[in-house]
Symmetry: C2
Subunit: 239 residues, 2 copies
């Protein structure tokens, strides 16, 4: 996937915070080509001059029409929260659509269109699209915040369910370490005159099992042992 | 996964818009239990009274400390944009961590902690966590907007890479339809006195191939044919 082949196109965006948020998410995920179509100009200027405005925003291109903003793209995808029954277009869930876009970006440019905060994309905007993308929200509250919708789409492009699970460097304590903890805990219990110690024959085993269930990490074994030993020392001193 | 077992916990949130955005994303994806710890009170009140504030926000619970906010949770996960080298904790990428959280939510409560906009979670906040979660952003610009970070985490919980790809109801045009289009286009070309028609023997095949590459949909075949026929009619009238 070539990140610079994706154009994020905000159509009729009205809120400078949303334009800024879209640019920030792009920067977070490594996308750089932001285009705004017919923005509310004050909003666009406000967003650009905001503290912490990203270089993505500084390089954003302004267009008068969708036609111009998507001219160099061979795939045009619109985003919508509307259910399939009201649409003339093929509608794909984000998980599936993102795969198709990712594939397309290896060879061609793709425009991803987001409509205005209030109304979304118009029918005319959508007529430029090859198909539509839908974030699987609840039907009862389908309409997403613009900045969040952009962020989620971009995340879906870059996320990798097959990313290798990083092996945890922390290893579990060895049986020898666990046994030392078990013995020291028993010593502490004896020093504390813990009542069950003398009545239950299986108590030693019960303590051993509970220590194993704790999943003590190797680096923590000495730390725990030290604490127990200190308590043993204190209790035996009191006798 | 039981959605109501997840608690989204915003620690030291300062911006009412972010609190509102977090609540909106929760509502979009079907999560309802929002908790705020030590919020800037004006911000919390502003967020609650904002136009379009969700029922999630109305039901949000306020706590003084992280300890109280996570008391009923058996898994506590913190979010961070910091790289692994600076952390005392095990750090998991969102794609992997979300699977673990989803699994946990089938039997126990999980708290997902988000820190303040400026500083993220403190070391003390993190010490309550079993492990940490990281959205795979660019290293050069790792810090995400709070509302967007919440939205992406929740999306990763509900998204389903194995969601069945909805079969496209639109079917491709049949060969008979395509051949009718091909013939009518050739007729139109003849009527227009298109020059190549008479010089190239393979022209007929070339037109047939280009029509096949168009992936004309079944419902569009008649529409296209009608347009071509009208043009043929107009051109032949002029003779």
């Amino acid at each position: 996937m070539e990140f610079d082949r994706l154009r994020v196109v905000l159509v009729d965006a009205r809120n400078p915070l949303n334009i800024g948020a879209a640019a920030r998410a792009m920067s977070n995920f490594g996308f750089r080509r932001l285009r705004v179509v017919n923005p509310y100009d004050v909003a666009f200027q406000d967003a650009r001059s905001a503290v912490g405005a990203t270089s993505v925003l500084a390089a954003a291109e302004k267009y008068k029409t969708v036609t111009e903003a998507i001219a160099d793209c061979s795939l045009v995808v619109g985003t919508t929260s509307v259910g399939p029954r009201d649409l003339q277009h093929s509608l794909k869930r984000l998980e599936h659509g993102a795969r198709l876009i990712r594939k397309h970006l290896s060879s061609g440019n793709c425009a991803l269109l987001f409509g205005s905060e209030k109304f979304g994309l118009s029918n005319e905007d959508m007529s430029h699209c090859h198909w539509l993308l839908n974030i699987p929200t609840r039907e009862e509250h389908a309409s997403m915040n613009l900045g969040q919708a952009v962020a989620i789409c971009l995340y879906e492009f870059i996320c990798d369910p097959r990313a290798p699970v990083k092996p945890d460097k922390r290893t579990l304590a060895s049986s020898a370490e666990l046994e030392r903890i078990t013995e020291t805990l028993l010593q502490a219990l004896r020093a504390s005159e813990y009542p069950k110690l003398n009545t239950s024959v299986s108590f030693h085993s019960a303590v051993r099992r509970v220590i194993r269930r704790l999943r003590v990490q190797s680096g923590d074994a000495e730390f725990l042992l030290g604490m127990l030993r200190q308590m043993v020392w204190k209790m035996e001193q009191k006798k």
